[in-house]
Symmetry: C2
Subunit: 198 residues, 2 copies
DNA sequence: TAATAGAGACCGACTGGTCGGTATGTGAGA
DNA sequence: TCTCACATACCGACCAGTCGGTCTCTATTA
């Protein structure tokens, strides 16, 4: 049962996400968020202690959703390579559906450099991602899909590649078919992982 | 022959770079830059039309220097794989020496999303990087070091990897030995490129 | 059931301070 | 004396956060 103020709170969060995406954190005023949500300034500060609190909550939502999606794909896939491929397949979905929201990503990174609170909120899930993929690699080795590679190093490679691709696709959205590029790159990596090489 | 005001201008640029690195673009006030440079606000606006102009000039300097360094390494190396390895070797140098300055990187990206001027200044050199590496790959194929891969796709892979590694090393500086990780990753890629695989 | 008291939701004017940028002044060199 | 390189003082806009107050819903009591 939704509490009385939950709708307002949610509207504020969504409005904030829109504004931050469109204009960036610093350039977005609290009053702008309020206007968009149809809430007064007082209402805003009733629900959130500060502008940054909204920012952090959005960060948590976003990273959490991504992790949930990845976990879901992993659990639905028959094998580790299949799961990785599936993740790449949804790459452009992720990019497409959240296109407008992704620019906040940079904002997070940028802020994380300076603000310990943001840093903690960013680095923790990020390390979980690395651990998540390392675990996948280990599983792949166990199930016989992969050679006996260094799981941590390979996970780092995968995450780096993903991060780099996302970053570039953000920077230059219509420059390339990013999903296809991602597809190719991951295939190359998988090829190396799977083969019995020297 | 240095003009009368060149020293001041340079001091302003350096002060701005320091401030932007330490606190970010938005959080840095023009007066802060002026104070650090020992110049008045009038002096600042005598040399630069706006705060953004300084930002753009720094961006240009930074990207240009990186490109020059890469070109130098390429021209000094006996073969393409050697050049790539050398570039990776200097990876931690780049990270280390410019550690403090690199966070502006995010700022650039962040701003490039919204500001056409910054976008243009960012995307142009970035595309040159991709072309630069594609050309290197092609050269590697010509000299017999590499298999006949898709040069553009491989260049994208390399750049993505580099970007991803840089980004992560910025986010989590003392988490890993990033130079070594980079080393490993690039070796993996080179291994694939060089071998005569199926 | 009706009156009442209180708590949480929300309003919007206001504040204290900051910041980018400008207008004007000034001293030194040509 | 004229110009260039800078200094000083200042403006107007803006913005995060505050504060006193109102409205509405709910729980209690008579």
């Amino acid at each position: 049962m939704p509490e009385r103020g939950d709708g307002t709170r949610q509207r504020l969060l969504e409005a904030a996400a829109d504004c931050f995406s469109a204009n960036g954190y610093d350039a977005t005023g609290v009053s702008e968020i309020c206007h968009r949500a149809g809430v007064s300034k007082g209402g805003f500060y009733h629900h959130f202690p500060s502008k940054q609190a909204v920012f952090l909550e959005l960060l948590e939502q976003w990273l959490g959703a991504l992790e949930a999606r990845l976990t879901q794909i992993r659990d639905e896939s028959p094998s580790v390579p299949a799961a990785l491929h599936k993740m790449v397949d949804t790459f452009d979905q992720v990019l497409g559906s959240a296109r407008g929201r992704l620019p906040i990503f940079f904002e997070f990174m940028s802020k994380a450099q300076r603000d310990p609170a943001v840093w903690a909120a960013t680095i923790a899930p990020y390390r979980r991602y690395r651990a998540f993929f390392a675990e996948m690699i280990r599983r792949g080795i166990a199930e016989g899909s992969f050679r006996e590679v260094d799981a941590e190093a390979t996970a780092l490679l995968l995450v780096s590649l993903a991060v780099g691709l996302i970053l570039q696709s953000l920077l230059d959205p219509q420059g390339e078919d990013w999903a296809e590029k991602a597809q190719r790159s991951i295939q190359l990596i998988l090829y190396v992982l799977q083969r019995e090489g020297a």
